[in-house]
C-alpha cells in the first residue's frame, strides 16, 4: 500500500469517482487551472474538461445554490468552498434549502451534493482562514457532516459522501492536508458515514475527538501510557449523525469522558456529546465530563504567540487527561 497525504487521498477519491460517473462535476473558486488554492483539484480539468471542473464566480451563495439546483437535475455536484470561513454567505442556501428539500417536499425531491470545505487552523491563517465551523451545521437536521483525520478515512468517506443521496458537508483540516500521511489500499473501498472508529484502545478513560485534535489526542495518549494511564481515543469521523453507540459504549467501559475539539468551547459539538453521555451513560460515569476546546474568542489570531495560546495542544490535552485520571 502506498503512503499518501490527506490531500492526495481526497484528490484520488474525487478523481476515481469522476472517472466512474459522468454525472459528477466540481464547482468552486479557482478549482480549474489553478487546481484550487490548496491544489486538491489539480489536474482534474485536464482529465475531465472545463464542463466538469468549473471555476465559479466569487459568490458562495450561488456556489451552494447552483449545486442544489444541479443536484435536482440528475447531476452529482461537488462544491468547493475555498476556506470554510467563507461558507457563511452560503448559510441560507445550505440550511434553508439543501438541508430541508427532502423533508419539505415529503420525500419528492432530494439533493445529492457534497460541499467540501478546508477548515481549522494552526497555519497562520488568522481569524478568517482558520475557523472551525462544524457546530453550526451539526445542528441542522437534513445535513450530514463528515470530518476525517486520516488519508484512509478521508478517501473512503469522500466516496461514500458523493454516493450519499443527501447533502454532505465534507470538512478537510488544512493543517492535516500535508502533515498527515497514511497508507491507502489500491482497491476501491468505502467508509460508511455515521461510524466512529477507535483509533487507540484503552480502559482508563475515553477521549472523543476528530480532525487535527484527534492526532494531538493520540500524542497525549501516548504520553499518558508512559505514566500508566490507558486512554481510549475515539475518532468520530462523522459529526452528524453522531455514532451514539460508539460514544456511549466506550464511556460505559471506561467511565470517564474527555472531549477535545479545536472549535470554541461554548456551543461547540462537545456540548452535545457531553449531553448524550450525561443523559444516557449517567450511571457509569466516574468523573466529570471534561472538555478541552478553543477559548471563547471570535477566532484564531494571526500573531504566533496568540495563535499558540488559542490552539489546544498535546500538552494541554495531556494535562486534562492527568486531571481526569486522578479524579
Amino acid at each position: 500500500m502506498a503512503e499518501i497525504t490527506l490531500l492526495e487521498s481526497i484528490r484520488q477519491g474525487i478523481d476515481e469517482m469522476m472517472a466512474e460517473d459522468a454525472r459528477i462535476f466540481v464547482f468552486g473558486e479557482d478549482v480549474g487551472r489553478r487546481g484550487g488554492v490548496f491544489r486538491v483539484t489539480e489536474g482534474l480539468i485536464d482529465k475531465y474538461g472545463p464542463m466538469r471542473v468549473l471555476d465559479a464566480p466569487l459568490a458562495e451563495s450561488v456556489i451552494a445554490g447552483a449545486c442544489i439546483g444541479a443536484a435536482m437535475n440528475d447531476t452529482l455536484p461537488i462544491a468547493e468552498i475555498q476556506f470554510a470561513d467563507f461558507i457563511h454567505p452560503a448559510f441560507n442556501q445550505i440550511v434553508s434549502e439543501a438541508a430541508r428539500i427532502r423533508y419539505r417536499s415529503n420525500g419528492d425531491w432530494n439533493v445529492p451534493m457534497v460541499i467540501r470545505a478546508p477548515y481549522g487552523g494552526g497555519i497562520h491563517g488568522a481569524l478568517y482562514h482558520s475557523q472551525s465551523i462544524e457546530a453550526f451545521f451539526c445542528h441542522v437536521p437534513g445535513l450530514k457532516v463528515v470530518a476525517p483525520a486520516t488519508p484512509y478515512d478521508a478517501k473512503g468517506l469522500l466516496k461514500a459522501s458523493i454516493e450519499d443521496p443527501d447533502p454532505v458537508l465534507f470538512l478537510e483540516h488544512k493543517k492535516c492536508y500535508r502533515l498527515i500521511k497514511g497508507e491507502v489500499p489500491e482497491e476501491d473501498y468505502r467508509i460508511p458515514i455515521g461510524k466512529a472508529d477507535v483509533k487507540r484502545a484503552g480502559r482508563d478513560m475515553t477521549v472523543i475527538s476528530y480532525g487535527l485534535m484527534l492526532h494531538y489526542s493520540l500524542e497525549a495518549a501516548e504520553e499518558l501510557a508512559h505514566e500508566g494511564v490507558e486512554v481510549e481515543v475515539l475518532d468520530l469521523r462523522t459529526l452528524r449523525p453522531l455514532d451514539r453507540e460508539a460514544i456511549l459504549s466506550s464511556v460505559r467501559k471506561t467511565s470517564k469522558a474527555l472531549i477535545v475539539h479545536e472549535d470554541n468551547l461554548t456551543g461547540g459539538l462537545g456540548g452535545e456529546i457531553a449531553a448524550l453521555i450525561s443523559q444516557h451513560a449517567f450511571e457509569h460515569l466516574d468523573g466529570p465530563i471534561t472538555r478541552v476546546c478553543a477559548p471563547d474568542v471570535p477566532a484564531m489570531p494571526y500573531s504566533k504567540p496568540l495563535e499558540e495560546a488559542f490552539m489546544p495542544s498535546p500538552a494541554k490535552i495531556a494535562d486534562a487527561m492527568r486531571e481526569l485520571a486522578a479524579y
Binding site: 468549473l54 459568490a59 442544489i68 444541479a70 443536484a71 434549502e97 423533508y103 417536499s105 437536521p141
Partner: protein, 337 residues
C-alpha cells in the same frame, strides 16, 4: 404609485396561436382566479389558516407557462404561481390538498404552507419561503442541463422586491456567464408587502437590470396574456438554442392584500386600490376575446360552470381527504428515515 400598464389594447395573438389555444389560456386564467377566490372563502370560513394570491398575476403566469413544455421544462414558481402550476399540470384537487394541509398534498404532504409548490413528476421544483433562493437553483438546473447536453429550460419567477436579494444577483450573474438556458420572470406588482418599488430600487424598471449581466431585459405588460406568451416564447427559443438567459419583467397588479394575514388599507392609498380592478387581466382578456368573436355569453357561461364544478369537486375532495398521521413527523429527514 401609479400602474403604467398601457391603455386597454392588447398586443393581439402572436403568429401560431389559434383560437382554441387562446380560449385554453382564458380557461386557465379563469380557473386560477376561481380557485384563488375559493381559497379566500375557505380562509374566511376558518377552514384554511393561510392564503396567498395570484390574483392579478394570471396573465403573466399563463402566458409564460404556455411557452414551456410540460414534463420537460423545469418551473420554479414563487408563492404567487398558482396559475403557473395549473398550466404545468397540477390539478385543482392537488392544489386544494395543500390548502387543507392534507397528507396527500403532492407539494409537501401538508408540511409547508399552501402555495409552496412542488411536483417532481411535473418538474415543478419544491419551493421554500425565503425569497430568491430559487433563482440560484434555476441557474444550477440550467448549468446541469448544459453539462448533460440536454435542451430543457429552467423557468423561475419572483417578485420585484426579491430582486433586492443577493441571490437574485448571484443567480442571474452565473446564468449569464455560462449562457445557461434559464428564464427569470419578475412579476412586478409594485409592492413588497407594504414596501413600494421606489423604496426597493432606484430604477424605474427591473428589466433595466438585464444590462448589468449582458442579457436581454424585457419589459412586458403583465396583464396582457398574449404579450407575456410572446415574450416568454422568444426567451424559451433563445434558451433552447443555447443563446443564454433572459430577464423578463411582467408588470402585474396585486388585486388582493399581500396575504390573508395582511391588510393593505393600512399602507395603500384607497384610490389606488379602487383603480386596481380596471387593470384586471381577466376582464381585459375577456373583452379582447369578445372583440375577436372568440367568446360569447354562451361559451363564457358554460366555461364558468365547468370551472365552478371543478373547484367544488377539488374542495370537497380535499376537505374529506385525511390529515397527515403524527407518526410520519420523523419521515424524510434523510433517505433512510
Amino acid at each position: 404609485m401609479t400602474i403604467d400598464v398601457q391603455p386597454m389594447t392588447l398586443v393581439g395573438a402572436p403568429p401560431g396561436v389559434d383560437e382554441s389555444t387562446m380560449l385554453e389560456m382564458y380557461r386557465y386564467m379563469l380557473l386560477a382566479r376561481a380557485m384563488d377566490e375559493r381559497m379566500w372563502l375557505l380562509n374566511r370560513a376558518g377552514k384554511a389558516p393561510f392564503v396567498i394570491s395570484c390574483q392579478g398575476h394570471e396573465a403573466a403566469q399563463v402566458g409564460a407557462a404556455f411557452a414551456l413544455q410540460r414534463g420537460k421544462d423545469f418551473t420554479l414558481p414563487y408563492y404567487r404561481g398558482l396559475a403557473t402550476v395549473l398550466v404545468m399540470g397540477m390539478s385543482p384537487r392537488e392544489v386544494m390538498l395543500a390548502i387543507f394541509a392534507r397528507a396527500a398534498d403532492p407539494s409537501s404532504g401538508g408540511r409547508q404552507m399552501p402555495a409552496h409548490y412542488g411536483h417532481h413528476k411535473l418538474k415543478i421544483v419544491t419551493q421554500s419561503s425565503p425569497v430568491g433562493t430559487q433563482i440560484a437553483h434555476a441557474a444550477g438546473i440550467g448549468l446541469a442541463e448544459k453539462i448533460k447536453g440536454g435542451d430543457a429550460v429552467a423557468w423561475t419567477s419572483f417578485g420585484e422586491g426579491t430582486t433586492s436579494q443577493g441571490d437574485f444577483h448571484e443567480g442571474i450573474n452565473l446564468a449569464s456567464v455560462h449562457q445557461l438556458p434559464v428564464i427569470f420572470q419578475c412579476e412586478n406588482n409594485d409592492y413588497a408587502i407594504s414596501v413600494p418599488m421606489n423604496k426597493q430600487m432606484a430604477v424605474k424598471s427591473v428589466a433595466d437590470r438585464g444590462v448589468a449581466y449582458g442579457i436581454p431585459g424585457v419589459k412586458v405588460d403583465g396583464t396582457d396574456v398574449l404579450a407575456c406568451y410572446a415574450a416568454n416564447r422568444e426567451a424559451v427559443g433563445r434558451a433552447r438554442a443555447g443563446d443564454g438567459p433572459t430577464l423578463i419583467e411582467a408588470h402585474c397588479v396585486r388585486l388582493t392584500p399581500h396575504s390573508s394575514d395582511d391588510n393593505d388599507r393600512t399602507y395603500r392609498p384607497a384610490a389606488e386600490i379602487k383603480d386596481l380592478r380596471s387593470h384586471d387581466p381577466l376582464t381585459r382578456y375577456r373583452d379582447y376575446l369578445r372583440e375577436q368573436g372568440a367568446l360569447d355569453d354562451v361559451r363564457e357561461q358554460e366555461l364558468r360552470e365547468r370551472i365552478k364544478h371543478e373547484v367544488d369537486d377539488a374542495t370537497a375532495f380535499a376537505e374529506q381527504s385525511p390529515l397527515p398521521d403524527p407518526s410520519t413527523l420523523l419521515k424524510h429527514v434523510y433517505a433512510d428515515s
